[in-house]
Amino acid sequence: MEIFDKVEDIKREVMNTLENQSLTYEQQTYRLAKIAENIMDYPVSKDDLFYEMYNEGKICDLDEGHAPYAPRYILPDYEKLLREGSEFLRLTPAKNLKQAINSLLIFYHHVPSITRFPVYIGSLDTLLEPFIDEVNDDVIEEIKLFLIQLDRTINDSFCHANIGPYETKVGNIILDIIDELQNVTPNMTLLYDSEITPDTFAEKAIKASLNTANPAFANLSYYKKDFNEVPFGIASCYNALPTTGGAFTLSRIRLNKIADDSKGIDDFINGELPKVVDTLVHFMESKIDFLVNKTSFFKSSFLIREGFVKIENFVGLFGVVGLHECIEILSAKEGKTFVLGTDKEAEELGIKIMDKVEELVNKFTSKYSPVWNSKFMLHAQVGAANDKGTTAGTRIQIGKEPDLYQHIRTAARLQQYFPSGTGDHFPFESTAEKNPKAILDIFKGAFKLNMRYISCYKEDGDLIRVTGYLVKKSDLEKFNRGEQVSYDTVQYAQDPLNDYGILERKVQNV
């Protein structure tokens, strides 16, 4: 929590930013804006329980900023853009591939988010396929340049593109060229449905992901059960959200910190947890109140005015981290040593905890989000700074991973709670490249067990999936040495890779 008591403090922080040689100009500008925002008060009064719980680490607002003036995640209706153009941006309906790409690139520039870059750039294959009759060198070159432009100007790998479930010309072109490009942006998801997606196409995606950590696989038919008729996309790390909408905000609870203060399982479930959840949902609602009622976004942004997003399609995201440690702490308080992934009892306790979290979050009715029945969506948050000792979402702690099948069985059961996103990522030995069908078999098995989201990358590749987003190991080495790197995400990857052991994930021997 960044609190400035004196003007001198603000000046010092501004000066620090101006002097910082490892930040690019853009990154400095963004930081200066954040300092200005954080001069403002928090959206809850100074005597709110929020502050105490924040200091104890039970609640974390992800340092979104004290006074949000745009939604955290925005998923605009890009089909509408290509179909109708935009009055504000003086764009006419796209008639060919060049115009479609041009319109998209212009539009992306005007889509805000928590990172200042668009976190969702649409289903690229669905968007571009209508403009391609035949695949030739020109078409491939245009898509390649489009992807390069995205990587070099959207300097943040929370930017997410979707492909699938159908095999398309555009999907094939993208999968064919991403190995050569080795880009961190965009993060990509294949919306996979074994009934629709051909095996050959899925295998190509697996092969690409071993080499580039892209795309991850989302279990489309399972997500469809949650969303019913609501159109949705995968944004940011792996967040499933309504399109023509998005998420107002994301805050989270650290289950392990709440467990620390509990006397035992019963006190946790019936005493501590309800208090913390109640405090956080009210904090989130206050934040959304501020964003919707005080700031200009939902009143004057062209995105609203022209119908690219609608306020009713925005949700609040209630994040969860630290289940693994929570289970260890609570079982220790009962004189046991249950480990998630290894002991059945640990998994059952995890289910019990998540059932309660779900029940408590659903008890709260928001003034917003008719798209989600006015409830906050549960989200398995991936982790942030100060998360040492707290495992992301409901994942099994790195270093405690069981064999892959057991890992997936446990992960799949715990992923069920998170319609707005969760995921597990697995590094494989490089030999797996020779048999992508095998990994597809494993993914199909995982989806049969109702896993929502899974990805792979090869152990000795440069590109890896950190918690949800991508980073190049070589870029992190540069950044560690104090050199500039063009994209922001490398800053967030510093702790996970240097301190949280992401590079120590169990490699799947083949």
Binding site: D403, L404, Y405, K434, N435, K437, A438, I439, D441, K448
Partner: protein, 278 residues
């Protein structure tokens, strides 16, 4: 018939024993004695002499009723038992019935598309395999056999196994008879007959040759690919020799140069066989 089979190892997830993700099952006992065998302890069956028992540093081996019993949970995989075995075998095996083995396989559903039986030489347990494969098929899984091809698969006793298996992966150690005997201790006539037979009934999934410097590699690759030219969809794994797990007396063996391997690949491809470089 023998109701059980001796199993050396079960690998629940294998990406290198045939197409897709498979559970690989390694049977104990082999009718070849290849100089470059990567797991020579799988060749001979344990004769329960008990020599290893006292050498185990963690007490994972016990002699009960004249039999050496191995406790997998105590074992730390130091392989002292294998090193001291005067017989070149291993006590680290289990006897499985078909039903016991099925239970092990079923644990890996829904992640696998099938099983691959290997060894040792798994076809020595042909009746066991036939029963196993029929049960495996009833679960919607496929069964592949990794074999040295020494037992004639055309013989009537093997008919049930060939029918029940979805495909075979066959080692072509050498097409030169004398070299084959030198390498394995056995002639190659049946191996070659089996290759052609399996190919002709569409059940030859893959052939492989381990490439060792000084061997008649060219003759082997050229002759087998010519022989299999009429049959589609066979892959040829050309494997560079690596000394892992090989007995000390054969450690001087070397793989061939990269350039030579490229030439061999070309020969195979020219004869219309798909090559996987390993």
């Amino acid at each position: 018939m023998c109701k059980t089979a001796t199993i050396n190892k079960i690998i629940p997830m294998s990406l290198v024993d045939g197409p897709g993700n498979r559970t690989a099952i390694f049977f104990q006992g082999c009718n070849f004695n290849c100089s470059y065998c990567h797991n020579p302890e799988t060749i001979k069956k344990c004769i329960n002499c008990g020599e290893c028992v006292s050498h185990c540093p963690v007490g994972a081996l016990k002699m009960i009723d004249g039999k050496v019993l191995w406790d997998e949970n105590k074992c730390i995989d130091c392989d002292t038992c294998i090193k001291v075995c005067p017989h070149g075998s291993t006590p680290k095996t289990y006897e499985y019935t078909v039903d016991d083995l099925m239970e092990k396989i079923e644990e890996n559903i829904p992640f696998i598309e099938g099983i691959t039986t290997s060894g040792g030489e798994c076809t020595l347990n042909f009746e066991f395999l036939e029963k196993l494969f029929i049960k495996v098929k009833s679960l919607g899984l496929t069964s592949l056999v990794d074999t040295n091809g020494f037992i004639s698969l055309k013989s009537p006793m093997m008919e049930g196994l060939v029918k029940a298996a979805d495909g075979f992966m066959l080692d072509i150690k050498s097409m030169n008879e004398e070299e084959h005997i030198n390498l394995t201790g056995r002639p190659n006539k049946t191996v070659i007959e089996n290759a052609v037979y399996l190919a002709s009934i569409g059940k030859l999934q893959e052939i492989r040759t381990v490439l060792i410097e000084g061997n008649k590699n060219r003759e082997t690759v050229e002759n087998i690919t010519k022989l299999l030219q009429p049959y589609p969809n066979i892959t040829y794994k050309l494997i560079s020799y690596r000394p892992f797990g090989v007995r000390e007396e054969f450690l001087q063996l070397k793989s061939i140069e990269k350039k030579q391997k490229e030439e061999l690949k070309e020969i195979a491809i020219m004869n219309g066989i798909k090559v996987i470089d390993c």
